[in-house]
Symmetry: C2
Subunit: 290 residues, 2 copies
């Protein structure tokens, strides 16, 4: 299949690579051209497009994987004139659910199928093709995209109408943030009590306190290893989207508010381009009584 | 072995029963005698003792499973005159680490081995003998108690000196509380966004947002099933102990403070004798903007 891939960053490049390896022809574009050129150098079936419209024009399916809501809106504005009936456009970025709803409506008028399909699983999941993919949009478009999603992720779920994928991702992110805080506070308490924190992870990790965050980021917190799996900068963006969506749904979530403060503090302490687990470094400074 | 078991409540009774089934002779005592009598009726090798000292006097190992720090201190005060050299006393209640340290020191003077060995896993874990057991105290006492712990739990870890078991349990509890809030807020957001929450659990439960709390209590939150696995009343007590221990360690933990407020609110809304997952009912009332 002829596929356009717009956005070949940390996540987008390995995802596009998995489609390339599955035998698809790729037309790639990236705002910073160098990254797209590097990807194209890997395969004879990959060409670099000068702009998003040139990538999208001749493709059966068009993927976007860019940072934020305005980036998706800008790409859509640029490709819309080049799109034609029966094309399939899939946004795998994490952006506002309401924006996806508007885009889906706009493209539907041109006969273009549109899905929001944000992912969870980080760079490792993108490389291994084991991402969790949460999809919003029409059932027929979902069925059409499913064989492609299978090359990118392991758990693919159709969540409902346009925006439902993004809303699920936002629920995922608020859970991720608070579960990480749970790990950070438990380990801070353990350290203040003189415990061997690695042994604490072993003792409590498989029971009612257990979580992916505790098992996977707990050891990094103990080792003060702040290298990014997922940037503080990006979870701050995601939690802003969560807060917007919560407000639109009539909710002010107290744990969400706390985690916005914690990650903002982490950024203020210089950790914006570190991994989310660096929230433990912020906690270490904010929670000290002496 | 001749074993004294003091405290045959929701947790204590099934734990004592597992030792009985393993072939030990039990001398049981409970503040509300009726529960001890009911347990004794189950086996010919179980007798009811009129007071803690009468239970402890003739036993090789003495277990305590009572609600709070003052309860343990009161039992210890009553059994201490009856204890003799080489007896083993094991506290499986969840109480203040500092109190365990003082008790261990006091009993050591009489040649009595003492362990703090709080558990996680709730009533189901107590019944199935699959509890997580976190142990503080001397290595020799731990080795002596290990064959008994094996009848009660699956994951048994020696955490360090007296009080280390309790400190580990407190780290466990702060993680449990915040991870539960993560599940509650994610599901509240999902509901406000019109998602099928059961499908959300499926989509995100195995990834970076995954946790024991989300998988086990998420479905109960969705079903508004507030029946207790673990009482709000008891986690409020535990989080008070966490706050005391954190303060003693020079820490003011922001997520802990939030969760004390949340569970206090749940109690104020009438959920003190419901399960911890009823914090979602409190959230539902506290987080609404309209």
């Amino acid at each position: 299949m002829e596929i356009a891939w717009i956005g070949t960053g940390i996540m987008g490049a390995p995802m596009a690579r998995n489609l390339m390896r599955a035998g698809h022809r790729l037309r790639v574009h990236n705002r910073t051209a160098k990254k797209a050129v590097a990807l194209a150098a890997e395969g004879s079936e990959v060409i670099v497009a000068a702009d998003p419209a040139a990538a999208a024009g001749g493709a059966e399916a068009v993927f976007m994987m860019v940072p934020d809501t305005p980036d998706v809106e800008s790409v859509v504005a640029r490709i819309a004139p080049a799109l034609h009936k029966d094309q399939l456009v899939i946004d795998m970025s994490t952006i506002a659910p309401a924006a996806e709803h508007a885009i889906a409506e706009r493209l539907a008028k041109a006969g273009v199928d549109y899905l929001d399909a944000p992912v969870s699983g980080g760079e490792a999941g993108a490389i291994d093709g084991t991402l969790t993919i949460m999809v919003g949009g029409a059932e027929s478009a979902y069925k059409r995209a499913f064989p492609l999603f299978e090359k990118l992720g392991r758990r693919v779920t159709h969540m409902g109408p346009p925006g439902a994928g993004q809303m699920t991702k936002l629920a995922n992110q608020v859970a991720v943030a608070l579960t990480l805080e749970a790990a950070a506070e438990a380990l801070a308490l353990a350290e203040s009590g003189g415990l061997d924190r690695a042994r604490v992870l072993e003792a409590i990790g498989a029971g009612a306190a257990g979580s992916w965050q505790l098992s996977n980021l707990g050891p990094k917190i103990i080792a003060h290893d702040w290298r990014p799996g997922f940037f503080i900068k990006l979870i701050r963006k995601d939690l802003r989207l969560v807060a917007d969506a919560a407000r639109a749904g009539g909710l002010a979530l107290p744990g969400l508010a706390l985690m916005q403060s914690m990650f903002n503090a982490a950024a203020a302490f210089g950790h914006d381009l570190d991994g989310t687990q660096a929230v433990a470094a912020a906690l270490d400074r904010l929670a000290r009584l002496k």
